[in-house]
Symmetry: D2
Subunit: 249 residues, 4 copies
Amino acid sequence: MKILVSNDDGYQSPGLIALAGALGQLGEVLVVAPERDRSGASNSLTLEFPLRAKRMANGYIRVDGTPTDCVHLALTGLAESDPDIVVSGINHGPNLGDDVIYSGTVAAATEGRFLGLPSMAVSIAAHEPRHLDTAARVAVELVSRLRESPLESSIILNVNVPDLPYAELAGFKATRLGHRHKAEPVIASQDPRGRAIYWVGPAGPEQDAGPDTDFHAIRNGYVSITPLQVDLTRHSALESLGCWLTSCN
Amino acid sequence: MKILVSNDDGYQSPGLIALAGALGQLGEVLVVAPERDRSGASNSLTLEFPLRAKRMANGYIRVDGTPTDCVHLALTGLAESDPDIVVSGINHGPNLGDDVIYSGTVAAATEGRFLGLPSMAVSIAAHEPRHLDTAARVAVELVSRLRESPLESSIILNVNVPDLPYAELAGFKATRLGHRHKAEPVIASQDPRGRAIYWVGPAGPEQDAGPDTDFHAIRNGYVSITPLQVDLTRHSALESLGCWLTSCN
Amino acid sequence: MKILVSNDDGYQSPGLIALAGALGQLGEVLVVAPERDRSGASNSLTLEFPLRAKRMANGYIRVDGTPTDCVHLALTGLAESDPDIVVSGINHGPNLGDDVIYSGTVAAATEGRFLGLPSMAVSIAAHEPRHLDTAARVAVELVSRLRESPLESSIILNVNVPDLPYAELAGFKATRLGHRHKAEPVIASQDPRGRAIYWVGPAGPEQDAGPDTDFHAIRNGYVSITPLQVDLTRHSALESLGCWLTSCN
Amino acid sequence: MKILVSNDDGYQSPGLIALAGALGQLGEVLVVAPERDRSGASNSLTLEFPLRAKRMANGYIRVDGTPTDCVHLALTGLAESDPDIVVSGINHGPNLGDDVIYSGTVAAATEGRFLGLPSMAVSIAAHEPRHLDTAARVAVELVSRLRESPLESSIILNVNVPDLPYAELAGFKATRLGHRHKAEPVIASQDPRGRAIYWVGPAGPEQDAGPDTDFHAIRNGYVSITPLQVDLTRHSALESLGCWLTSCN
């Protein structure tokens, strides 16, 4: 089994190292990851500039681009043959609810959507995690099970793991993404030269965090596994939109 | 009516200027757009650095960030009151099928999802367009109609307009996103100092471009309007994923 | 006479526009300037990435690089024939004393050192200048006189102009660069997520600002003109260094 | 003795590691270096954005800025007390002649000009060096001698070392900077989307490479040591410029 590993925290992140190390027991692992922290990169792809790839002493390949660039490069040129799956992470900090659209970790997984197996994004629910081994073990178990019993292709599994010892996990839960209120106000400030600057504020509070959501699962000690789709079409709205356009309503 | 306009080609793009000018007939327009071309930025959000906003002579506000940053800043601080709608574009070049996940134009619209009316991303299907006025008129018509007869909230309409005189448009069509094959291989090259560089290759050929897709609509002279969702959960897979996790199958 | 004009504040800077406009009366002007503000860029040169040049509606060419990149590109490829001189500016804000080594305005002039005439960097001593026409007129006078009576080649003239009506200038003065004390301490702060950030602090107070310095000239209403050299060798120290190396002292 | 070490190749460069390791035998070493390769950065200083500093496992502090930013931050805030000297390098590749004005390695040393001892920039004359230990030993010898017998303050020593075993060095030579012809033409090319791009071309051929130059020393197996000055004033031209301004000639 061939596994491509990437992330958005950069090739030196402890989360990446833990993930790549653990997945090594399942097959051949190729790491292609950003040179530096690219959190918040979403699916951004570098079209205006060429990219550079450098093989490091530990065999990792670092790329001076986004998470999407890394996986794109690996799958369309750097890897000698197609891997079976892309696993991205372990992100330091959760990727839950609406925040998922900004996530470089999820974007790296998304870019693996043409492969044979579902892609997977793995995050641990703490910015300074103490139990990366728990998340790494969860990733190994899920990849292992996918190999034996694949899910429908081009699914992306968004996996969030509580920062707990493995034995204290409450279990695994299939969840939907929760939703947040509008983000907190921008933080207006000044630079030391007196000119206005703005910092993007924190995400909004949880608005929809019911029992079937990822928010709820994590809060209760469960590993949250949300199936994501690449197809952004809101199919349920197609008919009403058609009517609207022809003024049938 | 208050309209927030942004884009990903930068605040000097003729497409933006055409759009903002035309929407002025419907209400008050506020333009907040990137300082420079940020095509391919997807939903990336700048968390590590502060942003700067500058009001230009023509009243536009330019921001040294991504399209998402622009709309985020406008909605959480720069605008005095909430606009009714975000309209993004007119992008020079189409945003169709799978490419939508990389689009900064669509991302700017997405960031308006908490507003009262559906957001809209408008693209013209030519990189050096001759009929921006056609796309601008289409945008005015759609916003005007949304005002009278709103669609369900938090929908994003992804509008692609053929580069044709308005009179030659075949009509308006509600479409779903088509799909492409895997992208073309990365283009490996060398810089003048002999070091390896890689350019992201072109998007793959169309794989799924049936009569109900955006690809098909544009190819046949229709304005393509695709309803997009922000919720990435693949709801249809939730049950089977639940089973899979508990090994029921 | 052919004049290449650049700056470090970006191609839209009022100072650049005033300078290019005024120099038009002396000959053919080509403007090649950075896409955005690159103050503080010093002589940095972009070696890792390719550059893009775009001709704007007003004939200016903007480049997505540093001031040095702009002049380098113009002189080694973009300009059809070699200009006679490079004039850089008008910088909004002075470039005096030690600060000159950080200046992109001065760096743009430096990059013109292989041309027939001395290069010139022009700055106005106010960050929000009211008398750009004064500085533009000074530039025209100096270039005009250089054409009639050239100075030694590969000199760079660092010109600073008080922000005053032309009639109120006290005169022109040949000056040396003054010196500052060590810079003020770095300004330590936190981003909204509680992580440490550091802003470069203000330049240090003037330490050596005697009557023959640029600091002194500007403070007394004179146009300060400092001849700069490209050769960084401290020739006066060569002999003692030679001794030191052979332990003769 | 306290020694501040920086470079422009980034905190992971073998040249930096060799230098910091070797200097450890002379005193306390603090490494503050750029997060990534910043070759060609010259004296550029980051004024628009805040900087972040991170202490790595090996005690090095990496900064997401330029070489000048690194030394500036160290001297105005990060270091608990002032070091006695800044040593920058070991740069992979020579810094000779006119190229010195573009060099981030030399710029890092320049930023140490307010300290007690002369600053030093150390480069090895090969892009993929085999004898970093030679250059590191040269650095140790020079710093050690400076401690015993200081040169005039605010001198910067620009040291270039042949890529040879130490025993094969021809000796140490005090040199002046040589000069080059104008740079080679820009390399015009196209990106894969057919748009024009330009690469900065190679430095020009040596024009002035006589026996007293750094070019000549390196070519003949000598360690080249050039004293550099921070003061860019061309003092020898002050009188004639004064005349020229008052039309006395």
